[in-house]
Amino acid sequence: MELTQSYSETTQEFLEFLKADKDYRSDALDLLEEGKSRYLADLKVNFKNSFESEHLSKKEVALLGVSLAVNAGNAFLREFFKGNAQSEGASPEEIAEAAGCASLLSANNVFYRFRHFVNKEKYNEIPARIKMNIMGRPVTGKEFFELMSLAVSAVNGCEMCVKAHENSLIELGSKEERIFEAVRLASVITSTSKILY
Protein backbone atom coordinates (compact mmCIF):
# COMPACT_ATOMS: atom_id res chain seq x y z
CA MET A 1 0.00 0.00 0.00
CA GLU A 2 1.40 3.36 -1.07
CA LEU A 3 1.68 5.96 1.66
CA THR A 4 0.68 9.55 0.98
CA GLN A 5 4.17 10.70 1.92
CA SER A 6 5.60 8.87 -1.06
CA TYR A 7 3.15 10.33 -3.58
CA SER A 8 4.88 12.34 -6.32
CA GLU A 9 5.29 16.11 -6.04
CA THR A 10 2.66 16.66 -8.69
CA THR A 11 0.13 14.58 -6.77
CA GLN A 12 0.98 16.17 -3.44
CA GLU A 13 0.51 19.64 -4.93
CA PHE A 14 -2.79 18.55 -6.45
CA LEU A 15 -4.05 17.05 -3.17
CA GLU A 16 -3.02 20.19 -1.33
CA PHE A 17 -4.97 22.26 -3.83
CA LEU A 18 -7.98 20.03 -3.22
CA LYS A 19 -7.59 20.47 0.54
CA ALA A 20 -7.26 16.74 1.07
CA ASP A 21 -6.30 15.34 4.47
CA LYS A 22 -2.61 14.70 5.03
CA ASP A 23 -3.14 10.94 4.89
CA TYR A 24 -5.52 10.92 1.94
CA ARG A 25 -5.17 8.07 -0.49
CA SER A 26 -7.24 6.29 -3.10
CA ASP A 27 -6.76 2.95 -4.85
CA ALA A 28 -6.97 4.45 -8.32
CA LEU A 29 -4.45 7.11 -7.39
CA ASP A 30 -2.14 4.40 -6.09
CA LEU A 31 -2.33 2.62 -9.45
CA LEU A 32 -1.27 5.78 -11.27
CA GLU A 33 1.49 6.48 -8.78
CA GLU A 34 2.85 2.94 -8.87
CA GLY A 35 3.17 3.19 -12.65
CA LYS A 36 4.60 6.72 -12.39
CA SER A 37 1.96 7.75 -14.84
CA ARG A 38 2.37 10.96 -16.82
CA TYR A 39 -1.38 11.21 -16.69
CA LEU A 40 -1.26 12.71 -13.21
CA ALA A 41 0.34 15.91 -14.51
CA ASP A 42 -2.31 16.23 -17.22
CA LEU A 43 -5.14 15.57 -14.75
CA LYS A 44 -3.84 18.25 -12.42
CA VAL A 45 -3.34 20.77 -15.23
CA ASN A 46 -6.77 20.05 -16.70
CA PHE A 47 -8.44 20.47 -13.33
CA LYS A 48 -6.67 23.69 -12.45
CA ASN A 49 -7.31 25.15 -15.90
CA SER A 50 -11.04 24.42 -15.69
CA PHE A 51 -11.15 25.84 -12.22
CA GLU A 52 -10.30 29.31 -13.51
CA SER A 53 -12.69 30.42 -16.17
CA GLU A 54 -13.12 33.54 -18.24
CA HIS A 55 -16.84 32.92 -18.65
CA LEU A 56 -17.79 31.50 -15.26
CA SER A 57 -17.34 33.31 -11.96
CA LYS A 58 -15.48 31.52 -9.15
CA LYS A 59 -18.75 31.05 -7.31
CA GLU A 60 -20.37 29.57 -10.41
CA VAL A 61 -17.49 27.15 -10.88
CA ALA A 62 -17.88 26.07 -7.26
CA LEU A 63 -21.66 25.56 -7.51
CA LEU A 64 -21.30 23.65 -10.76
CA GLY A 65 -18.68 21.59 -8.97
CA VAL A 66 -21.08 20.77 -6.14
CA SER A 67 -23.76 19.75 -8.61
CA LEU A 68 -21.44 17.60 -10.69
CA ALA A 69 -19.87 15.96 -7.64
CA VAL A 70 -23.31 15.08 -6.27
CA ASN A 71 -24.22 13.68 -9.67
CA ALA A 72 -21.07 11.59 -9.62
CA GLY A 73 -21.71 10.42 -6.07
CA ASN A 74 -18.24 11.65 -5.21
CA ALA A 75 -17.86 12.69 -1.56
CA PHE A 76 -14.29 13.91 -1.89
CA LEU A 77 -15.05 16.41 -4.66
CA ARG A 78 -18.39 17.34 -3.16
CA GLU A 79 -16.70 18.39 0.07
CA PHE A 80 -14.02 20.31 -1.80
CA PHE A 81 -16.51 22.23 -3.93
CA LYS A 82 -18.83 22.83 -0.99
CA GLY A 83 -16.01 24.49 0.97
CA ASN A 84 -14.99 26.35 -2.13
CA ALA A 85 -18.55 27.58 -2.77
CA GLN A 86 -18.84 28.80 0.81
CA SER A 87 -15.62 30.76 0.58
CA GLU A 88 -16.82 32.30 -2.67
CA GLY A 89 -19.92 33.56 -0.92
CA ALA A 90 -22.51 30.96 -1.92
CA SER A 91 -25.43 30.73 0.47
CA PRO A 92 -26.61 27.40 1.93
CA GLU A 93 -29.71 27.79 -0.28
CA GLU A 94 -27.62 28.07 -3.41
CA ILE A 95 -25.47 25.09 -2.47
CA ALA A 96 -28.57 23.07 -1.67
CA GLU A 97 -30.04 23.96 -5.04
CA ALA A 98 -26.91 22.76 -6.80
CA ALA A 99 -27.29 19.41 -5.06
CA GLY A 100 -31.02 19.29 -5.77
CA CYS A 101 -30.47 20.10 -9.42
CA ALA A 102 -28.11 17.15 -9.83
CA SER A 103 -30.60 14.81 -8.26
CA LEU A 104 -33.62 16.07 -10.21
CA LEU A 105 -31.78 16.19 -13.52
CA SER A 106 -30.60 12.63 -13.01
CA ALA A 107 -34.22 11.58 -12.94
CA ASN A 108 -35.09 13.69 -15.95
CA ASN A 109 -32.12 12.36 -17.87
CA VAL A 110 -33.36 8.79 -17.52
CA PHE A 111 -36.90 9.77 -18.23
CA TYR A 112 -36.54 12.06 -21.23
CA ARG A 113 -33.81 9.95 -22.74
CA PHE A 114 -36.25 7.03 -22.70
CA ARG A 115 -38.87 9.08 -24.48
CA HIS A 116 -36.28 10.10 -27.01
CA PHE A 117 -34.96 6.55 -27.54
CA VAL A 118 -38.34 5.05 -28.22
CA ASN A 119 -39.88 8.10 -29.85
CA LYS A 120 -43.45 6.91 -29.51
CA GLU A 121 -46.10 9.58 -29.22
CA LYS A 122 -47.89 7.51 -26.59
CA TYR A 123 -45.04 7.98 -24.12
CA ASN A 124 -45.14 11.71 -24.63
CA GLU A 125 -48.85 11.67 -23.81
CA ILE A 126 -48.66 9.73 -20.57
CA PRO A 127 -48.16 12.30 -17.78
CA ALA A 128 -44.67 12.34 -16.34
CA ARG A 129 -45.79 12.72 -12.71
CA ILE A 130 -42.36 13.83 -11.63
CA LYS A 131 -42.34 16.97 -9.49
CA MET A 132 -39.88 19.61 -10.63
CA ASN A 133 -40.75 22.53 -8.40
CA ILE A 134 -37.21 23.69 -7.88
CA MET A 135 -37.08 24.57 -11.58
CA GLY A 136 -39.83 27.11 -11.02
CA ARG A 137 -38.04 29.94 -9.29
CA PRO A 138 -34.42 28.90 -8.83
CA VAL A 139 -32.47 30.68 -6.11
CA THR A 140 -29.42 30.59 -8.35
CA GLY A 141 -31.36 32.26 -11.16
CA LYS A 142 -32.95 30.75 -14.25
CA GLU A 143 -29.86 30.99 -16.45
CA PHE A 144 -27.50 29.38 -13.97
CA PHE A 145 -29.95 26.64 -13.09
CA GLU A 146 -30.19 25.83 -16.80
CA LEU A 147 -26.40 25.80 -16.97
CA MET A 148 -26.13 23.33 -14.11
CA SER A 149 -28.86 21.24 -15.74
CA LEU A 150 -26.98 21.21 -19.01
CA ALA A 151 -23.74 20.18 -17.33
CA VAL A 152 -25.39 17.30 -15.46
CA SER A 153 -27.26 16.19 -18.57
CA ALA A 154 -24.06 16.22 -20.60
CA VAL A 155 -22.44 13.89 -18.08
CA ASN A 156 -25.46 11.61 -17.91
CA GLY A 157 -25.68 11.48 -21.68
CA CYS A 158 -29.22 12.59 -22.45
CA GLU A 159 -29.16 14.07 -25.96
CA MET A 160 -32.64 15.52 -25.79
CA CYS A 161 -31.91 17.18 -22.44
CA VAL A 162 -28.59 18.63 -23.57
CA LYS A 163 -30.14 20.09 -26.71
CA ALA A 164 -33.12 21.50 -24.83
CA HIS A 165 -31.00 23.15 -22.13
CA GLU A 166 -28.53 24.50 -24.65
CA ASN A 167 -31.41 26.02 -26.56
CA SER A 168 -32.84 27.62 -23.39
CA LEU A 169 -29.48 29.05 -22.52
CA ILE A 170 -28.99 30.65 -25.92
CA GLU A 171 -32.48 32.14 -25.68
CA LEU A 172 -31.63 33.51 -22.24
CA GLY A 173 -28.63 35.25 -23.80
CA SER A 174 -25.78 32.98 -22.71
CA LYS A 175 -22.76 32.79 -25.00
CA GLU A 176 -21.54 29.51 -26.48
CA GLU A 177 -18.18 30.10 -24.80
CA ARG A 178 -19.82 30.03 -21.38
CA ILE A 179 -21.76 26.88 -22.16
CA PHE A 180 -18.60 25.24 -23.49
CA GLU A 181 -16.66 26.12 -20.32
CA ALA A 182 -19.36 24.54 -18.18
CA VAL A 183 -19.18 21.37 -20.23
CA ARG A 184 -15.38 21.35 -20.08
CA LEU A 185 -15.62 21.68 -16.32
CA ALA A 186 -18.10 18.79 -16.27
CA SER A 187 -15.71 16.66 -18.34
CA VAL A 188 -12.76 17.38 -16.11
CA ILE A 189 -14.68 16.80 -12.89
CA THR A 190 -15.90 13.50 -14.29
CA SER A 191 -12.36 12.41 -15.08
CA THR A 192 -11.11 13.52 -11.67
CA SER A 193 -13.91 11.69 -9.89
CA LYS A 194 -12.60 8.39 -11.30
CA ILE A 195 -9.29 8.86 -9.54
CA LEU A 196 -10.09 10.79 -6.38
CA TYR A 197 -13.07 9.71 -4.35
Binding site: E9, T10, E13, D42, V45, K48, N49
Partner: protein, 128 residues
Protein backbone atom coordinates in the same frame (compact mmCIF):
# COMPACT_ATOMS: atom_id res chain seq x y z
CA UNK B 1 13.88 41.31 -10.92
CA UNK B 2 14.07 39.06 -7.86
CA UNK B 3 10.30 39.27 -7.50
CA UNK B 4 9.91 37.87 -11.01
CA UNK B 5 12.33 35.01 -10.40
CA UNK B 6 10.41 34.26 -7.21
CA UNK B 7 7.16 34.22 -9.19
CA UNK B 8 8.55 31.72 -11.64
CA UNK B 9 9.87 29.67 -8.74
CA UNK B 10 6.46 29.58 -7.09
CA UNK B 11 4.98 28.29 -10.35
CA UNK B 12 7.73 25.70 -10.82
CA UNK B 13 5.19 22.86 -10.43
CA UNK B 14 3.03 24.26 -13.23
CA UNK B 15 5.98 24.19 -15.64
CA UNK B 16 7.10 20.75 -14.49
CA UNK B 17 3.57 19.39 -15.06
CA UNK B 18 3.78 20.74 -18.61
CA UNK B 19 7.16 19.00 -19.18
CA UNK B 20 8.85 22.38 -19.39
CA UNK B 21 12.27 23.26 -17.99
CA UNK B 22 12.90 26.69 -16.54
CA UNK B 23 16.25 28.42 -17.04
CA UNK B 24 16.92 31.89 -15.71
CA UNK B 25 19.65 34.10 -17.16
CA UNK B 26 21.15 37.45 -16.35
CA UNK B 27 24.34 39.26 -17.15
CA UNK B 28 25.41 39.13 -13.50
CA UNK B 29 28.07 36.69 -12.44
CA UNK B 30 27.41 33.42 -10.67
CA UNK B 31 28.70 34.99 -7.45
CA UNK B 32 26.05 37.69 -7.60
CA UNK B 33 23.45 35.01 -8.28
CA UNK B 34 24.63 33.04 -5.25
CA UNK B 35 24.47 36.16 -3.10
CA UNK B 36 20.89 36.80 -4.17
CA UNK B 37 19.92 33.25 -3.30
CA UNK B 38 21.46 33.52 0.12
CA UNK B 39 19.97 36.89 0.94
CA UNK B 40 16.45 36.67 -0.41
CA UNK B 41 13.88 34.51 1.38
CA UNK B 42 11.97 33.91 -1.85
CA UNK B 43 15.03 32.63 -3.66
CA UNK B 44 16.53 30.34 -1.07
CA UNK B 45 14.79 27.27 -2.45
CA UNK B 46 15.25 28.20 -6.11
CA UNK B 47 14.34 25.11 -8.07
CA UNK B 48 15.83 26.02 -11.45
CA UNK B 49 19.32 27.00 -12.67
CA UNK B 50 20.55 30.51 -13.36
CA UNK B 51 22.92 31.23 -16.24
CA UNK B 52 25.62 33.85 -15.70
CA UNK B 53 25.90 35.60 -19.07
CA UNK B 54 28.80 37.78 -17.92
CA UNK B 55 30.15 38.36 -21.42
CA UNK B 56 26.64 39.42 -22.50
CA UNK B 57 27.11 37.30 -25.60
CA UNK B 58 23.93 35.30 -25.06
CA UNK B 59 21.84 38.43 -24.56
CA UNK B 60 23.38 39.92 -27.69
CA UNK B 61 22.71 36.84 -29.81
CA UNK B 62 19.16 36.74 -28.54
CA UNK B 63 18.77 40.33 -29.68
CA UNK B 64 17.86 41.67 -26.26
CA UNK B 65 20.96 43.66 -25.39
CA UNK B 66 20.23 47.39 -25.36
CA UNK B 67 22.67 48.97 -27.79
CA UNK B 68 24.02 51.94 -25.82
CA UNK B 69 24.07 50.91 -22.15
CA UNK B 70 24.44 47.19 -22.92
CA UNK B 71 21.83 46.16 -20.39
CA UNK B 72 19.67 43.17 -21.15
CA UNK B 73 15.96 43.71 -21.63
CA UNK B 74 13.67 41.45 -19.66
CA UNK B 75 12.69 38.75 -22.07
CA UNK B 76 11.02 35.38 -21.90
CA UNK B 77 11.52 32.75 -24.59
CA UNK B 78 9.52 29.57 -25.05
CA UNK B 79 11.65 27.04 -26.95
CA UNK B 80 10.24 23.79 -28.29
CA UNK B 81 11.92 20.35 -28.03
CA UNK B 82 13.45 20.87 -31.50
CA UNK B 83 15.17 24.04 -30.30
CA UNK B 84 12.90 26.40 -32.18
CA UNK B 85 11.84 29.62 -30.46
CA UNK B 86 8.04 29.61 -30.45
CA UNK B 87 7.29 32.70 -28.43
CA UNK B 88 9.20 35.73 -27.33
CA UNK B 89 8.05 38.35 -24.92
CA UNK B 90 10.14 41.46 -24.24
CA UNK B 91 9.25 44.15 -21.75
CA UNK B 92 10.59 47.59 -20.97
CA UNK B 93 12.68 47.71 -17.84
CA UNK B 94 9.82 49.06 -15.72
CA UNK B 95 7.19 46.50 -16.59
CA UNK B 96 7.05 43.16 -14.79
CA UNK B 97 6.46 39.84 -16.52
CA UNK B 98 3.31 37.81 -16.06
CA UNK B 99 3.99 34.16 -15.29
CA UNK B 100 0.29 33.44 -15.81
CA UNK B 101 0.57 34.68 -19.39
CA UNK B 102 3.61 32.48 -20.05
CA UNK B 103 1.67 29.45 -18.82
CA UNK B 104 -1.34 30.41 -20.93
CA UNK B 105 0.80 30.60 -24.05
CA UNK B 106 2.51 27.32 -23.16
CA UNK B 107 -0.86 25.60 -22.91
CA UNK B 108 -1.87 27.04 -26.26
CA UNK B 109 1.37 25.90 -27.92
CA UNK B 110 1.40 22.37 -26.59
CA UNK B 111 -0.62 19.79 -28.47
CA UNK B 112 -3.62 18.76 -26.49
CA UNK B 113 -6.34 17.19 -28.61
CA UNK B 114 -4.93 13.86 -29.72
CA UNK B 115 -8.32 12.16 -29.79
CA UNK B 116 -9.46 10.99 -33.23
CA UNK B 117 -12.97 12.20 -32.38
CA UNK B 118 -11.83 15.51 -33.73
CA UNK B 119 -10.72 14.13 -37.08
CA UNK B 120 -12.54 15.39 -40.10
CA UNK B 121 -12.86 13.41 -43.28
CA UNK B 122 -10.02 14.16 -45.63
CA UNK B 123 -7.65 15.50 -43.00
CA UNK B 124 -4.32 13.84 -42.27
CA UNK B 125 -4.33 11.34 -39.47
CA UNK B 126 -2.83 12.33 -36.18
CA UNK B 127 0.91 12.05 -35.80
CA UNK B 128 1.85 12.54 -32.16
Amino acid sequence: MTKEIAEFNKSYGEFRDRSTNLIGASTDSEFVHLAWRKNHDDLRDLKFPMLADTSKSLAEELGILEVNEKIAYRATFIIDPQGIVRWVSVYDLNVGRSVKEVIRVLDALQTDELCPCNWEKGKETIKA
